[in-house]
């Protein structure tokens, strides 16, 4: 007998400090699985088109994945959803740490914030009790200071805190929400949305428990996943070096975006990679998110000198965005930059992106050399990086322009600067050169967030690891499709990754397990669903739940902007790779159009404009379940 599954949501209106408890029906689990899918439905129904992302009508929904609370490997993830101040579109941002687990233990699946508080507040959730408390003494404090202060006031044991830094308070459009000190819901400015509501932090402690239908079945599937992790070379790299290991791979294969995507390789780039960081004592093995055996999260220290410090990370994206992208190979400066971004609550990818935009604008003479006061605005200066990060978070001087994101900054700079603003829809591209990886190019173009890797990560196209090659063979019929430069079958590969990613987020497991390392597959998820809830469904039904979420997210964007297009940043579409083995490669309109039309066909969209048809919405059960969905037809 399958158990009743309902989601319990704390609906907090900050404007009048009222709290309402909402519970969903079983149907919401059946259609969306929870978390990311559920958030997308709520956002579509309750955030009307055209509203100001930083105004009172936006919602910020923080949902723990459905598996969180039981030891399904890697099930510790949280999805945060809102309309983004960076893009003005749908946005979900995902993070690990231990906050989601604490929320579930307290008996809640989600917290949603609406309205705007007259005064700065923080929320304290202890089991069923939720209080809205004065945060005037916390306002202005950094992420670590705030977390430490709340631990001091509320007691440390079992407490976890989601918090914004000064950047969130100051409405920087790429401000983060940080959990467990160093875990970032980084992209899309979720921290600015929280800041606009004047909520400094949400502290959670729970003493509840979670039962499962079949403990033995759960245990035996855990053992199987452990065995797969043990065999996975990718998982071993994550364990040893975290995502930082990817720097060396990318630099050696001329895939590393350097100097704002002008170049694809940097001399001495090895000095930014995981191996160098570990061997030189900068980085050590560290903390895992709840229930995670992979443990990609690291800690890093600079022991002395002007960049002395300690923080979580750094990740590949950070090393690439703050390091190689800015032409910096002094890893100590990059570690300082990482520490500051974490502590001030800034997304490292967008921070790096917008700084690179500024440096290139100076290089090309589009802005005066002294726009940053006395700063040396050339590639490769660590001190400049550190000082710009601070001025962005506090919106001082040129930092105030950068805090609006690359798209807006390009409008202020004017001229042709939009050409080197490596963004689409207002989101800075993450550090993947899509010119030399065609599945990523398609995945980035159709991503409702904008061009980044956290909607679908089709890393299998590189075929580096046996798991990748097996997946490509299973999905596409042959390993020969592991070719990043080919467009053949890439739409099929992206479609699978999109659905899988949506399922992954909704259940609260980690995309590093289901994609990239491919140690948890569909049948494994089905076994976990059976063991945990006593639910039996087919693989096809499972993937359809993912697709439903993906389509619904696109519908949100189409309602906001009926002319919403699947695009990549101008530079990647028009400027070829400058040197190395892939010299001359780019993402052309023709190439993208070819992949898109096949993608639309697979997805069941209208082939010309890529819009969902009535037939599709009806077959996915969205028509009739999601209020107002017919507006996008």
């Amino acid at each position: 007998m399958a158990r009743e599954i309902e989601f319990k949501i704390a609906d907090v209106n900050l404007s009048n400090h009222s709290i309402r408890i909402r519970t969903t029906s079983r149907k919401d689990f059946d259609l969306y699985l929870g978390s990311r899918g559920l958030n997308a439905k709520i956002l579509f129904e309750e955030v009307p088109p055209g509203i100001d992302p930083l105004g009172e009508h936006n919602l910020l929904i923080l949902s723990a994945g459905t598996f969180v609370g039981v030891p399904v490997p890697t099930a510790g993830q949280l999805t945060i959803t809102a309309k983004s101040p960076a893009t003005g579109l749908y946005f979900k941002s995902n993070t690990g740490g231990a906050w989601a687990r604490a929320l579930k233990r307290a008996g809640w699946d989600a917290v949603m914030l609406s309205g705007i508080s007259p005064e700065p507040v923080y929320l304290y959730i202890e089991d069923s009790q939720i209080s809205i408390r004065d945060a005037s003494s916390l306002w202005g404090k950094s992420v670590r200071e705030t977390t430490r202060e709340l631990h001091r006031q509320l007691g440390s044991r079992g407490l976890d805190v989601a918090v914004i830094g000064p950047a969130g308070e100051n409405l920087v459009v790429f401000a983060t929400i940080m959990t467990s000190n160093y875990h970032a819901a980084g992209r899309g400015g979720m921290g600015a949305v929280m800041g606009s509501k004047r909520v400094k932090a949400i502290a959670v402690r729970g003493s509840g428990s979670h039962g499962v239908e079949n403990q033995e079945a759960l245990q035996s599937e855990i053992v199987k996943v452990f065995e797969r992790i043990q065999r996975s070379k990718k998982a071993e790299l994550y364990l040893r070096y975290g995502t930082a290991a990817t720097i060396e791979y990318a630099n050696e294969s001329w895939d590393l975006p350097v100097n704002n995507f002008q170049k694809s390789h940097i001399d001495q780039g090895f000095n930014l990679g995981g191996t160098y960081l570990v061997n030189n004592g900068y980085m050590r093995n560290g903390g895992a998110c709840s229930a995670c055996p992979i443990s990609c999260h690291k800690f890093s220290t600079v022991r002395s000198g002007k960049y002395q410090g300690f923080s979580g990370g750094p990740e590949y994206e950070t090393l690439a965005a703050l390091g190689a992208g800015c032409g910096i190979i002094d890893v100590e400066a990059v570690l300082k930059g990482n520490e500051l971004c974490n502590d001030l609550g800034l997304d490292t990818i967008s921070t790096g992106g917008v700084i690179q935009f500024l440096i290139e604008s100076v290089e090309r003479g589009a802005v005066p050399k002294d726009i940053g006061g006395g700063l040396d605005l050339r590639w490769g200066n660590g001190d400049t990086l550190v000082s710009l990060i601070d001025s962005i978070a506090y919106r001082i001087g040129v930092g105030d322009i950068l805090a609006k994101g690359t798209r807006q900054a390009a409008q202020e700079v004017g001229g042709e600067s939009w050409k080197w603003a490596v963004q689409a829809h207002g989101l800075e591209q993450s550090r993947v050169d899509t010119r030399t990886s065609k599945a990523y190019a398609l995945a980035f173009a159709v991503n409702p967030r904008g061009p980044d890797h956290l909607h679908a990560q089709p890393i299998a196209e590189f075929g580096y690891f046996p798991e990748s090659r097996r997946l490509v063979e299973r999905l596409l019929g042959s390993e020969k499709y592991c070719d990043p430069m080919a467009t053949d079958k890439k739409p099929e590969l992206v479609r699978w990754h999109e659905d899988m990613f949506a399922i992954t987020d909704s259940l609260g497991i980690c995309s590093f397990a289901t994609t990239t390392s491919y140690v948890i597959d569909e049948s494994s998820i089905l076994n976990f669903l059976w063991a945990t809830f006593g639910i039996e469904i087919s693989q096809e039904e499972l993937l359809k739940k993912g697709q439903r979420t993906v389509v619904l997210e696109r519908c949100f964007n189409l309602r906001e902007n009926p002319n919403h297009q699947d695009i990549l940043p101008w530079r990647l579409m028009n400027e070829p790779v400058e040197g190395g083995p892939f010299k001359g490669e780019k993402n052309s309109v023709e190439e993208l159009r070819e992949m898109l039309s096949r993608y639309y066909e697979l997805q069941g969209y209208d082939l010309v404009r890529g819009r969902p048809t009535r037939k599709l919405l009806s077959s996915l059960g969205l028509l009739g379940n999601v209020q107002g969905i017919e507006q996008v037809l």
Binding site: S180, Q215, I229, A288, A291, S295, R303
Partner: protein, 164 residues
């Protein structure tokens, strides 16, 4: 030969899976209650210490218990808490050098090695928990290891104490 669980401080990642399976073994569901292993986390400094009874031979908990509730179990050569006699006075909690015994809902909880097949050791993917034969060498090596780790953490966060 007698066995015990030893903790390797260099390997714990704070994932809490041991806590999950221990509570499930003892109470039937996953929670922070009823568990006989806890993780002392200092996320800001990135340190995670599993707290569990290491079945030490000095057993100050046994000596200090005013109601003799901690009794010898000859089968596994360990001490167990007799929940009926325990008064929940927390005297044991205060003297344990490993912080491996804790009072929850009025009863002291302490690892009983799951009758010889400890679940936490099986689930600990990073290998921070080891189920080993008790020998003088093993214990000394373990203590040495713990000291080294503690010194390293002190060095790592040196000068950062106030900021973190």
């Amino acid at each position: 030969m007698d066995k015990t669980i030893l903790v390797d401080l260099t390997k714990c990642t704070g994932c809490d899976m041991c806590v999950d399976v221990c509570s499930a073994e003892k109470t039937g569901s996953y929670s922070e209650k009823g568990t006989r292993i806890q993780i002392d986390k200092d996320e800001a400094r990135g340190t995670f210490y599993p707290l569990i009874c290491e079945q030490c031979r000095e057993h100050p908990c046994v000596d200090t218990c005013p109601v003799q509730a901690i009794c010898y179990d000859a089968e596994l050569s360990i001490f167990r808490v007799d929940a009926e006699s325990c008064s929940g006075c927390r005297a044991c909690e205060r003297v344990c050098p490993y912080k491996g015994i804790f009072v929850s809902d009025g009863v002291a909880l302490k690892c009983d090695l799951c009758g010889g097949e400890p679940r936490c050791v099986k689930i600990c993917y990073p290998g921070a928990l080891r189920y080993v034969d008790v020998s003088k060498e093993a214990i000394l090596a373990d203590l040495e290891h713990k000291l080294t780790k503690l010194k390293k953490i002190r060095d790592d966060t040196h000068g950062q104490g106030d900021r973190i």
